[in-house]
């Protein structure tokens, strides 16, 4: 059931990409250290066009769908609207979230600072119980990076990943890099999520993800 849905979404994304000039089609493979199941491989595919990004990711037990709309508000200002759904087939549970954030991308001769501030809300569920939990949380992303036509690297700290049962964001620290060629680029990203970050001297990392990908300009 889950695999069939994912294949259908992938086909729709591919057709959507073929029909629009300037569309970027990307895919990646990730190693994800899941707190419950240890290391898992995850495949991801996304398509970017006209400020929209649609993505789908799947591992042996989980599926993720995401849709993002990024709007330029003139000058450096931007608004991002993101919705995503996550389901764990083994546990029969997951969550659906939506966020809206405003911010700026500030360029200083190749050095780019970016920030987003907004709100994220979501609904978490389990197939084993009848109660749903709705939650809402502030959403903050801070990034610094170097961007050129052939190479980019960005370090970010985000309080945005709604990996939570109630009213709360979990901080994520990540590094993303890309090397660009004529009509494609190679990407590499690594990030970690913190589960426990306010008490004591030890910061607890719940997830570590390393992702390698490729994006093709159609």
């Amino acid at each position: 059931m889950g695999t069939r849905s994912i294949i259908i979404v992938l086909l729709m994304l591919s057709v959507h990409g073929m029909l629009h000039a300037g569309t970027v089609l990307g895919g990646s493979l990730a190693l994800r250290s899941d707190p419950l199941y240890g290391m898992q491989a995850e495949a991801e595919l996304h398509v970017d066009t006209d400020g929209y990004r649609l993505g789908v990711a799947a591992s042996p037990m989980t599926s993720r769908l995401s849709a993002m709309y990024s709007l330029s508000g003139g000058g450096d200002f931007r608004m991002d609207i993101l919705s995503s759904a996550y389901h764990n087939w083994a546990l029969r549970g997951g969550m659906a979230t939506a966020s809206c954030s405003l911010g700026q991308d500030l360029d200083f001769s190749g050095i780019r600072l970016d920030y987003r501030l907004g709100i994220i809300g979501g609904l978490s569920y389990s197939g084993h119980v009848r109660e749903l939990h709705f939650s809402l949380s502030p959403n903050l992303i801070l990034g610094i990076g170097y961007f050129s036509s052939v190479f980019s690297a960005r370090l970010y700290l985000a309080f945005e990943d709604f990996y939570e049962t109630s009213f709360q964001s979990v901080p994520v620290l990540g590094l993303e890099t890309a090397v660009g060629f004529l009509d494609y680029r190679l990407t590499a990203e690594g990030y970690m999520k913190f589960a426990d970050y306010m008490d004591g001297a030890t910061i607890l990392i719940s997830d570590l993800v390393i992702r390698l990908g490729c994006e093709v300009m159609l």
């Binding site: 250290s33 899941d34 707190p35 419950l36 199941y37 240890g38 996550y86 764990n88 546990l91 029969r92 549970g93 997951g94 969550m95 500030l106 200083f108 050095i111 600072l113 978490s124 389990s126 084993h128 119980v129 009848r130 109660e131 939990h133 709705f134 939650s135 809402l136 949380s137 502030p138 903050l140 801070l142 610094i144 700290l157 309080f159 990996y163 939570e164 049962t165 109630s166 009213f167 709360q168 964001s169 979990v170 620290l173 589960a195 426990d196 970050y197 306010m198 008490d199 004591g200 001297a201 030890t202 910061i203 607890l204 990392i205 719940s206 570590l208």
Partner: protein
């Protein structure tokens, strides 16, 4: 440029912290729930059980924060009068988890044991090891962070949620123990709640941090008798999570009183009664200055 400097200033902060993967922290070599310790009781499978419950005592918090207040004498007299089957401490007994706090906690536990005359089940909270570590806490109190107890037809499971995660091995052993125990009722003690329905939280840490871990625990409990989860951590208000007919979670407010808008606490201790014949649960909360009448009451049935 100022923004750049601000961001760069965050890097030494991060560099000064220790990082650990959560599976390095919660590793269990053998099933800590097997066998469950028996709580001596003359009660049978159909009898009414009673438990005194406190959470988030935060001993010595008054040394570093204003407006924090405790009055142990009322609670201790209450224990002498009620003679519960067990006392549950739902974590964060101390404020900083340092030697000074542990000495205070030892004295507090002695007084509670003496007044109640029954087992005191001390669940690990995030503050209990905030200034030390799990090994130091275990050695100090002679306790394991994960234990099981049996009384009449009920098994009580004490979980380690101090890191806001249960971890694979703890959940795996819990699943095995619950599958084998054959009990009609399970009481799960977890300092961190599974879900707190969004009350006074935002960027702070209030529930189990991983949606899969929460759902894994719900999966284990689903269809295995009647289940009651008791948790704390929230301080300011009681919350009921009505997960299902046979699965409820009650989140207890803090034992210490703190006078502060929004993040304050009333200062409450509780008596929880479980009627094993009917599944009826009654919880009454009493103010730390006066146990003559309840300041809150809630009752529900585990179907």
């Amino acid at each position: 440029m100022r923004r750049l400097l601000l961001l760069l200033a965050l890097l030494p902060l991060l560099a000064s912290c220790d990082f650990a993967f959560h599976w390095d922290v919660i590793e269990l070599d053998e099933n800590p729930f097997d066998p469950p310790q028996e709580i001596a009781s003359g009660k049978g499978p159909s009898d009414r059980l009673s438990f005194a419950v406190i959470s988030d005592v935060h001993l010595n918090k008054e040394l570093s924060e204003e407006g924090v207040y405790r009055n142990d004498s009322v609670f201790l007299s209450f224990l002498e009068t009620e003679s519960p089957d067990a006392v549950f401490i739902l974590g964060d007994l101390v404020e900083d988890g340092i030697e000074r706090d542990y000495r205070e906690a030892g004295l507090f536990l002695d007084k509670v044991r003496s007044a109640a005359g029954c087992p005191v089940i001390y669940t690990l909270g995030n503050h209990d090891i905030g200034g030390s570590d799990l090994e130091t806490w275990s050695a100090e109190f002679g306790l394991s962070a994960t234990e099981a107890f049996t009384i009449a037809d009920t098994v009580i499971y004490k979980l380690n949620s101090a890191y806001r995660l249960f971890g694979q091995s703890q959940l795996s052993y819990l699943s095995q123990a619950i599958g084998d125990d054959g009990a009609a009722y399970h009481i799960i003690l977890s300092h961190i709640p599974l879900g707190s329905k969004g009350l006074n939280q935002s960027l702070f840490e209030f529930t189990i941090a991983d949606i899969d871990e929460r759902n894994a625990l719900l999966d284990i409990l689903s269809g295995s008798g009647r289940n009651l989860i008791l948790s704390g951590h929230v301080h300011s208000i009681e919350v009921m999570n009505d997960w299902d007919d046979d699965l409820k979670e009650f989140i207890f407010s803090a034992y210490h009183r703190k006078d502060l808008p929004f993040f304050g606490a009333r200062g409450t201790f509780y008596l929880l009664e479980l009627d094993q014949a009917t599944g009826r649960v009654e919880i009454k909360g009493y103010g730390i200055d006066n146990a003559d009448s309840a300041v809150m009451e809630v009752s529900f049935t585990l179907e």
